[in-house]
């Protein structure tokens, strides 16, 4: 009986630490990548193109861009697409995500990031951060899930506004009236000026 109790206790403790490890390892990976990206951003003598290239190289391993493409269409639209459509959409969507991420990052370059306590729910972890400067405080939440090997970002929220949800609302609107080709065309079009 006593042995059983110990076993249960040990199991319980390992399960607990397993979870905290999960949360903290996710946080550590994220912080490492963001610090590296911001360090590049703050470099004085490097042109923007080179900076962008390096930042994307740093953050790509932690973002699951292809998965984000799939999520942004959702169960409603994704399964009905042909393989070519999926590929084309994914490629175009990733380009847009990268550009948009770079633009957002550059808005908040001279500020400190405070990492708050992550919240885990199953294989998902939300890591709330605050980007703080003299003038403002912006809440950014990184949402990660555990893929086969590592923690990967599948969505990001800035002041409660989710990237995936925002894209979903637009794709819904476009696909309600138009075809998937219309959507691809819009995705391909240069950014709105």
């Amino acid at each position: 009986m006593k042995r059983l109790l110990y076993t249960v206790l040990i199991l319980f403790i390992t399960a607990q630490t397993g979870l905290t490890d999960d949360k903290n390892s996710a946080k550590k990976i994220l912080a490492g990548k963001l610090d590296a990206a911001i360090a590049v951003l703050q470099k004085k003598n490097m042109d923007k193109q080179e900076k962008d290239r390096q930042i994307i190289k740093i953050v790509t391993p932690i973002f699951d861009f292809p998965f984000m493409a799939k999520l942004s269409l959702g169960r409603k639209y994704w399964p009905g697409l042909s393989k070519e459509q999926k590929q084309k959409f994914t490629d175009l969507f990733i380009k847009r995500l990268e550009a948009s991420y770079l633009e957002k990052l550059s808005l908040y370059n001279d500020e400190t990031i405070v990492y708050k306590t992550p919240v885990q729910s199953g294989r998902k972890v939300e890591i709330p951060t605050e980007v703080i400067s003299k003038d403002k405080l912006i809440s950014m939440t990184y949402k990660l899930y555990k893929s086969k090997h590592n923690w990967k970002i599948y969505d990001m929220e800035i002041e409660g506004i989710s990237i995936i949800v925002t894209y979903r609302s637009q794709f819904d609107q476009i696909l309600e009236k138009g075809t998937f080709d219309d959507l691809l065309l819009k995705l391909e079009a240069p950014e709105n000026k």
């Binding site: 699951d64 893929s147 929220e157 409660g160």
Partner: protein, 279 residues
């Protein structure tokens, strides 16, 4: 109410929405699908299940096959009726041009000629002045501590901070920065829905509920009681340009990432407000 007063009211309405959407606040977030209290135990139970369902596929597109996290995103998606969409789209374009042709150049010129501390002081001043809006709405939402903190900050910043230009209250960790309550959020807390979407000129995106809230907030704003409407307009305009000077680039980023900027802004506004109501 005479015509001039009515005009003023409309303008104020517009201004204050525009301002209120730009402010950054602290946030406390909870996962949409689980409550704050019980995510851990639940989480432990679901790990093995889901892990078994995950097939190992080398294909990039199937990071987690068959899982779209649909429940999560649908819970977060706020739907709202848009019966005024032609008016709204017109106003969206008007505001877009107003930003790029008027506000942004003005704010940039203003940044060029005024030191940072000055702009920050002005921002503090106007923020401090609108304490009654936040205080009353904290009380209406039963947030006693936040209300007390709101009031203490006002006293400290108005006296030691020199009429609110300084922000010494920030040095005191007991005086927590509030999440910026307004009447629209109070209505939301009471369970009142958005109604429909409406875009106001100058002010930008709003909903029926939030617009009604703005009218109430207008009467709680001390600036409303400035005697001369010219002075009022000048002050509001100054506040707007000053605020804009802190947010250059944000609207551009939203627009550039969007396929349909009108829909993207509408959706972003709704998500943002939903988050604020939850706080």
């Amino acid at each position: 109410m005479n015509k001039k007063r009515l005009n003023n009211l409309l303008l104020i309405l517009l201004f204050s929405v525009f301002l209120s959407t730009g402010c950054a606040h602290k946030s406390v977030k909870s996962l949409p699908e689980t409550s704050d209290d019980a995510p851990l135990t639940q989480a432990r139970e679901t790990i093995p299940d889901k892990a078994e369902q995950t097939p190992s596929s080398p294909d990039v597109e199937d990071s987690i096959e068959d899982d779209f996290f649909d429940e999560e995103f649908e819970a977060q998606q706020v739907q709202v009726a848009d019966p005024l969409s032609s008016w709204n789209k017109g106003m969206f374009h008007f505001n877009d041009k107003l930003y790029f042709w008027v506000l942004k150049p003005l704010a940039k010129g203003y940044i060029a000629i005024s030191p940072d501390y000055f702009r920050r002081g002005v921002k503090n001043f106007f923020y401090n002045l609108t304490m009654p809006i936040r205080l009353v709405n904290c009380l209406l939402q039963g947030k006693g501590n936040a209300a007390a903190s709101e009031f203490s900050r006002f006293i400290v910043n108005t006296t030691a901070g020199g009429l609110g230009f300084g922000n010494p209250a920030d040095q005191n960790p007991d005086l927590v920065v509030s999440t910026g309550e307004d009447l629209g959020q109070t209505f939301g807390k009471y369970g009142i829905g958005n109604g429909f979407y409406i875009v106001w000129p100058i002010l930008g995106p709003s909903t029926l509920r939030d617009s009604v809230g703005l009218v109430g907030d207008f009467f709680l704003n001390p600036l409303t009681y400035v005697d001369y409407s010219e002075t009022w307009i000048a002050l509001k305009g100054f506040d707007l340009v000053n605020q804009t000077s802190f947010h250059i680039g944000e609207y551009e980023a939203l627009k550039n990432s969007a396929l349909d900027p009108y829909v993207a802004l509408r959706n972003s506004y709704l998500q943002y407000r939903q988050k604020k109501i939850k706080e």
